[in-house]
Symmetry: C2
């Protein structure tokens, strides 16, 4: 029985494994985590809307229904293409056919200070740490006397105006305007700023103009400041500088400007595109290595002279294609080249608003949002998760409340001093602070 090894239990790898389930292959699915992550909702964990457990699912619980698929938790470090072995920390695994679907990580595009001081949102720990960081920033701002320090604690800079940046900025604005506005004094909450920076002239630059404009208007209505056509030069621990010299004092900078393939792409030692993705043939195999497929965010595929975007639907269709291709090869059948069929794209901009391109339509507002809701719920792997997510969302929606706003990660905002003293002029001068804490 042929040994198929799949590296990565994300959207691409998991779909490939699922489609190979029950077949005549001995499938090993590897991931460095023991769970599959529903990344599109990560920003909701980061803004205290969802528990982390609602968007993650243990791989073993999925894979054990698939008799011929076993899961192994392993950190893959490379592939020995000549000897057909996957190299992992502490050991190696032989394969006959290999599917590499290890995904992408945050790209800092050479801004080293951003790598050091900006936060990212790629994994569950990032989301929990970001949630804790934002909430702790408010707690400390309520005790801060120095107006400059308070301003930088209460300024949240989102770098990147793509769907992820837009969705996070919208959800953060609603976290602040809703639950936090009831937890903290109005004066404090009014000082909070969300600044969305992008070097491109529009948010959601890849979308049609009317959807872009709608998104920009919605974000501004939510109080998000748009700084477009602006490039980040440096991220320091308490401020961001732009290449035109402007400075934004901010203790929280979220870097959502782009992704690059994980280091495994480089460790393959094969030809890569300028953005770091691996060049593959039209059947998604590595040139010269017909037994190795590379799919998802790691693979560079052009279609109609345009590179395919790094998105979950692409990865899923590629996973399904690879499984079909493997089965066809074993049966001696030919398979047509991979072709991505877009079913549309959408981005949500806070409660009850979204933009969507689906079935050739361009939708905005509540209808787009409802479509987003149904789609995301139906994607969530498991009935219980779906139910829990729905309860959380319904609760938030009805009560403008987010019960998940717990500071559970180590505190990364504190560095100052505060004082509470009925005789100090600071307290006399700022009555709002009395209400704040």
């Amino acid at each position: 029985m042929k040994r198929v090894v799949i590296v990565g239990a994300g959207f691409g790898g998991l779909r490939a494994a699922r489609r190979l389930a029950g077949g005549d292959f001995d499938v090993t699915l590897l991931d460095r985590q023991n769970y599959h992550l529903f990344q599109p909702l990560l920003y909701q964990v980061a803004t205290a809307s969802l528990e982390q457990e609602s968007i993650a699912y243990p791989v073993r619980a999925i894979a054990r229904r698939w008799g011929n698929v076993r899961f192994q938790m392993a950190e893959v470090t490379g592939v020995d293409l000549a000897n057909k072995r996957v190299l992992a920390e502490g050991g190696s695994i032989p394969y006959d056919l290999l599917v590499v679907a290890a995904g992408a990580q945050t790209a800092f595009f050479g801004v080293e200070s951003a790598r050091q001081h900006a936060r990212e949102l790629k994994g569950l720990p990032d989301a929990v740490a970001l949630r804790s960081h934002v909430l702790a920033a408010f707690e400390h701002a309520a005790l801060e006397d120095d107006p400059q320090k308070r301003a930088s604690l209460l300024t949240f800079v989102v770098v990147g105006g793509g769907p992820t940046g837009v969705e996070y900025a919208g959800a953060l604005a609603e976290l602040i305007d809703g639950p936090l506005a009831r937890d903290f004094s109005p004066e404090l909450v009014d000082m909070a700023r969300i600044v969305l920076v992008d070097m491109l002239p529009h948010v959601l630059d890849a979308y049609p103009p009317n959807l872009r404009d709608y998104t920009a208007r919605r974000l501004e209505a939510l109080g998000v400041e748009l700084m477009l056509g602006a490039q980040v030069a440096d991220v320091l621990s308490d401020r961001v500088t732009l290449s035109d010299g402007r400075t934004i004092p901010a203790k929280t900078v979220l870097w959502m400007a782009g992704v690059e393939p994980v280091p495994l792409a480089g460790a393959l030692g094969v030809d890569r595109a300028r953005d770091g993705r691996v060049h593959v043939e039209s059947d998604l195999t590595l040139p010269g290595h017909p037994d190795v497929y590379v799919i998802g965010d790691m693979a560079y595929v052009e279609q109609d002279s345009e590179p395919l975007p790094q998105m979950a639907p692409v990865a899923m269709q590629q996973g399904a294609y690879v499984a079909r291709h493997i089965a066809a090869r074993a049966a001696g059948r030919a398979v047509e080249p991979f072709r991505y069929r877009s079913r549309g794209t959408m981005a949500v901009i806070g409660r009850g608003a979204a933009v969507a391109r689906v079935f050739g339509l361009r939708l905005t507002g509540l209808l787009a949002w409802l479509m987003w809701l149904v789609l995301h719920l139906s994607y969530l792997i498991d009935f219980r998760n779906r139910l829990l997510v729905l309860i959380n969302w319904a609760y938030d929606y009805l009560f403008f409340e987010r019960k998940v706003r717990l500071i559970t990660a180590p505190d990364t905002t504190r560095d100052g001093e505060w004082s509470v003293d009925d005789t100090s002029p600071a307290r006399e001068a700022s009555p709002e602070r009395v209400a704040a804490f």
Copy 2:
């Protein structure tokens, strides 16, 4: 308006604040965390039954309903009794009346190696780390060739046969026999051992003999090995040694042998009992400092010549008493000394079984468990939490499944190497490993 400062938003402090709400006091509630933790269910987070968010509740969301109570997140380091100020990291807060309710931490009783190598279960991060650690131990055991290393990865030693140790051991046994038995090979799961060690001759030593015996039988039926009358001498990274020379190879040692007051108790610089608790007057004030109350796990109070136990119900009744005492003093009324009214105690031993002493009755089995269920659900602060907890429990109960079994904390079990090779004798010799991963 008199300034009342309450240190600690646990069961005692929160109850005091709640009872002072709406009164003629200016109340400041301090805690180093922004949430109130329902500690009695911590072991369920540690065994993947509940999300951490289900047993924690943001203090601001509770306190904002109480007009005269404000919350402040602060790490309290001491009290300046002479100048009536609470000292905290970065600042200080003046008080007229002070309620110290900062709780307890794990006591290692001088076993320094346990402090270093054993795990504890006092806060949410402990529970998430323990859950991740246990699950990762199984993942790595599945890849481990060395029988000794595998045995130590699969042995879980619980030190302490009190309610916490019993509840955790029972829940862990059910996690292993249920969900993990379906995730991993039967051979691997059969190697798993849970060893409960206590220096006393019985589990639940403070309970009546028939409840103790029932508990011991139930634990043994769940596969928990009881090592009673045994004292832990040393905890190393991969084994436990007892003072009689016996050794248990184990990578996981959970220390639940007892608690001691947090360091703030010592920082007060006042008279303390042998167990570190602070001696208080019959009205729970500090001797010589009638404006300072100490309650909960920090306070040493004797009643009928017995010290009161460090339990949530004691802390809650003391919190309510202190609020009444403060109001009575302000009104010039006298208040009787504090007296704890026990409404019973209970401990749960896995699915559908518990022991309880309530209303003078001694109950075991399903009836005690149902009582436990109703009580704990009704204690959980908020309707939504109650509903989520109930859904989780119902799901676990009906499907023998735990969807929370995610490894989300850094891996603390891995140190060996593993190999997967169809030509290696290790793989040939242990066919169960093929099924295991």
